[in-house]
Symmetry: C2
DNA sequence: TTGTATGCGTTATCAT
DNA sequence: ATGATAACGCATACAA
C-alpha cells in the first residue's frame, strides 16, 4: 500500500519479518532455518511481493543462470526450430536465454560475443560462420555446425552420414544419375560434409553424379540456369537431386515443375534439415531430418556441465531420412 | 599472460594504468577526462582485455539494458518473424533480449514474468493469451495483440481493418458467397476483430457469409468436415473464404484441392499474417500482411521511451493485402 | 540455529 | 580534472 516505488529488498523483508538479513537470504536459497522464522519470512515475502535481485546475486556469486544463444536469424525454419528447442532445454534447467540474431554479419557476431562476455553469461551457444570469431577463454562456448578447434566443442548432425543416406535413398528409389546442389560458404564447416558423404556413397554405389556448388550470396538464378542447361525437351539429365538444404530443395522443385518436369516422377529430390511448414505441419520436401531436440539438449548439457574441457571436441548426432512428397514412396 | 583466471576488474585496469578507479569508470562511460589519462586507461583496457561487468553496473544503476520478450513459440513463422524484428530493433538501440517461449502455457507465462521481473529487465514485451497474467507495476510492459487494460499499452495490427480488406478483396474478385473460418481463444483479443471487420464489410457489401469458429485445441478435422458438408458434387457453397491465419488458410487450400475443388478458380482464399516460406520466399497464400517491422519498432520504442504512461493504450498498425496465389490475380 | 559484517564491481558524491 | 569512499542488494564467513 504505502509501498516505496522501488522494488523491495532483502532488508525490507527482514524488517517486515523481524529477522536478520542473513536469515532471509537463507530462506530464499532453501537453506534450512527455524520453522517459525521460515514462515515469517515467507509471509513477508508474499506481502511485499519480494523478488531476489538477480543482478546483486549474480555479482556476488558470479553465476547468472543466463546463456547466450547466437544464430544468424530466426526466420529460417531450421534456426527457429533450433532456438525454440534450446529455449525449452534452458528453461527446463531454470536458465534464461539471451538471444542474438547476427544476420550472418561477422562484425555483429564479434560484437555480440563481447556483449555476452560482459553480460557475464554462464555460457555461449553459437551457430556462426565467422572463422575468425574471437572468444575469451573465460566463458564456456559450444558451437553448432562449425568446428572452431579442439578448445570449443562442436555439436552437429551427422552431416556426412546424411549425405550418404540421401544418395543411398535415391539409388534405392531407382535413380542412377544424381546431382548435388549447394550454396554456402567454402569454409570447412560441418554442412560441407553433406557433399562428402553424398559423393562417397555415389562412388560406393558406382552411380554417376554432377555437382553444382556456388558461393553464399549467389542468386538462386544460378541453379535455375544449371537445371535448364541439364534439361532437354522436358527431360532432365538427372533422376535424383540432393540439395544441401530444404530451402534449396523447395526452390528446386518449384523451378523444375515450372519447366514441366514432374517431381518425383521424373526427378526425385531430397533436401536437408527436416523443418516443417508452420512448425508442425508438412515437411517442405523429402529430406534428411536433423535431430534438433537432441542437438539442443546436447548443447545445453555441455554448456552447463563443467565437463566442457574434457568433452569430445566434435559430436555428430544421427540423422534420418523422411518422406516429404518429393521422392517416390 | 600471467592473467588471473578470473576476469579483470576496473581495479586491475586502474592499477595497470596507474590512475584512480573513478577515472577508469569515467573513461568507460565516455565522460571527459584528461587526454593522457584516457590514453593510458584505454591502453590498459586493451592489454587486459577488460570488459565492464554489466551485473555490477546494473546493480548500481538499476538499468540493465535488457528487455524480456515472451511469445508462445518460435516455430510459427509469424512469431519467428516478430521476434526476429524485435531482436533487430533492440540491437539497434544496444539493448539485449531475454527470450522466453511459453508454449501457450499460462503457468509458464506467469513464471516467466516473475523471472523477468527479478532479472530486473528494463521492460517486458509480451504476446500472451493469458487473461489473468499478473504483472508488477515496477516493470514497464507492452502487449502485442492482446489488450490487458489501460495501464498496459497494446500494439497490434489493424485486425478489424484487415478483416474488412479481406472481405472487400474477395468481393472485388467476384466472390458472392463468403465464409470465415477461425480457430482460437474466445477471449476478446485483438485477432478476434478480424472476424468483426469481415462481417462488417460483408454486411456493408450485402454479401452473404457463413462462419465456422472453433475453440483452440479443436483438431483441424473439424474444418475439413465443415468444408465437406458445404461441398456438393465437387462444387463448394462458397466462392471465397477468409481464414484467420495463413496456417489455417494453407491447410484449407490443401483440403479443398484434395477434394477436387480448384483454388483459386472455384474458391478464393485469403489468410492473415503474411509470413513467408523460409522467411524470405513465397507467401503461403494470398493474405493480409501484418506490418511486423513496424509492430516491433513501435513496441521497442514504447518500452524504452518512458512515455509509456501517457501512451495511447491501443495502437493499431495498418495492414495490407498481398497476392499469394490463392486468389484470382 | 541466528545475527553481523564484509566484499562482489561498479557508479557517484564528495573533497582535493 | 582527479582521487578517495560510500552505497547498490546480496551471500557468506564468522561471531554469538
Amino acid at each position: 500500500m504505502a509501498e516505496p516505488s522501488s522494488a523491495p529488498t532483502m532488508k525490507d523483508v527482514a524488517r517486515e519479518a523481524g529477522v536478520a538479513l542473513g536469515t532471509v537470504s537463507k530462506v530464499m536459497n532453501g537453506i534450512p532455518v527455524g520453522e517459525s522464522y521460515r514462515v515469517r519470512v515467507e509471509k513477508a515475502v508474499a506481502k511485499l511481493n519480494y523478488r531476489v535481485n538477480s543482478y546483486a546475486k549474480g555479482l556476488k556469486t558470479n553465476k547468472t543462470y543466463t546463456v547466450a544463444v547466437m544464430v544468424p536469424n530466426l526466420v529460417s525454419p531450421f534456426f527457429a526450430k533450433l532456438v525454440n528447442a534450446l529455449n525449452r532445454q534452458l528453461a527446463l534447467r531454470k536458465y534464461r536465454m539471451l538471444l542474438y540474431a547476427t544476420d550472418y554479419d561477422p562484425a555483429q557476431e564479434q560484437e555480440y560475443v563481447i556483449m555476452a562476455e560482459q553480460q557475464k553469461v554462464d555460457g555461449i551457444i553459437c551457430l556462426s560462420y565467422n572463422p575468425e570469431l574471437k572468444v575469451s577463454e573465460n566463458v564456456p562456448m559450444v558451437s553448432i555446425d562449425r568446428y572452431f578447434g579442439a578448445q570449443i566443442p562442436c555439436v552437429s548432425s551427422d552431416n556426412y552420414g546424411g549425405g550418404r543416406i540421401a544418395a543411398e535413398k535415391l539409388y534405392e528409389n531407382g535413380c542412377r544419375n544424381l546431382a548435388f546442389m549447394r550454396i554456402g560458404s567454402r569454409l570447412t564447416n560441418e554442412p560441407n560434409k553433406r557433399k562428402d558423404g553424398f559423393i562417397s556413397a555415389c562412388e560406393a554405389l558406382g552411380v554417376s553424379f554432377t555437382l553444382k556448388i556456388v558461393d553464399d550470396g549467389t542468386p538462386y538464378a544460378a541453379f535455375e540456369e544449371f537445371l535448364r542447361e541439364h534439361t532437354h525437351a522436358g527431360v532432365p539429365d538427372f533422376d535424383g537431386i540432393f540439395c544441401v538444404t530444404d530451402s534449396l530443395a523447395y526452390q528446386t522443385v518449384r523451378s523444375l515443375r515450372a519447366m514441366g518436369v514432374r517431381v518425383p516422377e521424373d526427378v526425385q529430390i531430397i533436401g536437408f534439415d527436416g523443418a516443417r511448414l508452420f512448425g508442425d505441419q508438412d515437411l517442405f520436401c523429402s529430406t534428411i531430418v536433423q535431430p534438433v531436440e537432441e542437438i539442443a539438449e546436447t548443447c545445453v548439457d555441455m554448456i552447463l556441465e563443467k565437463a566442457l574441457s574434457k568433452a569430445p571436441s566434435l559430436m555428430c548426432l544421427p540423422v534420418e531420412y523422411a518422406y516429404g512428397g518429393t521422392t517416390l514412396k
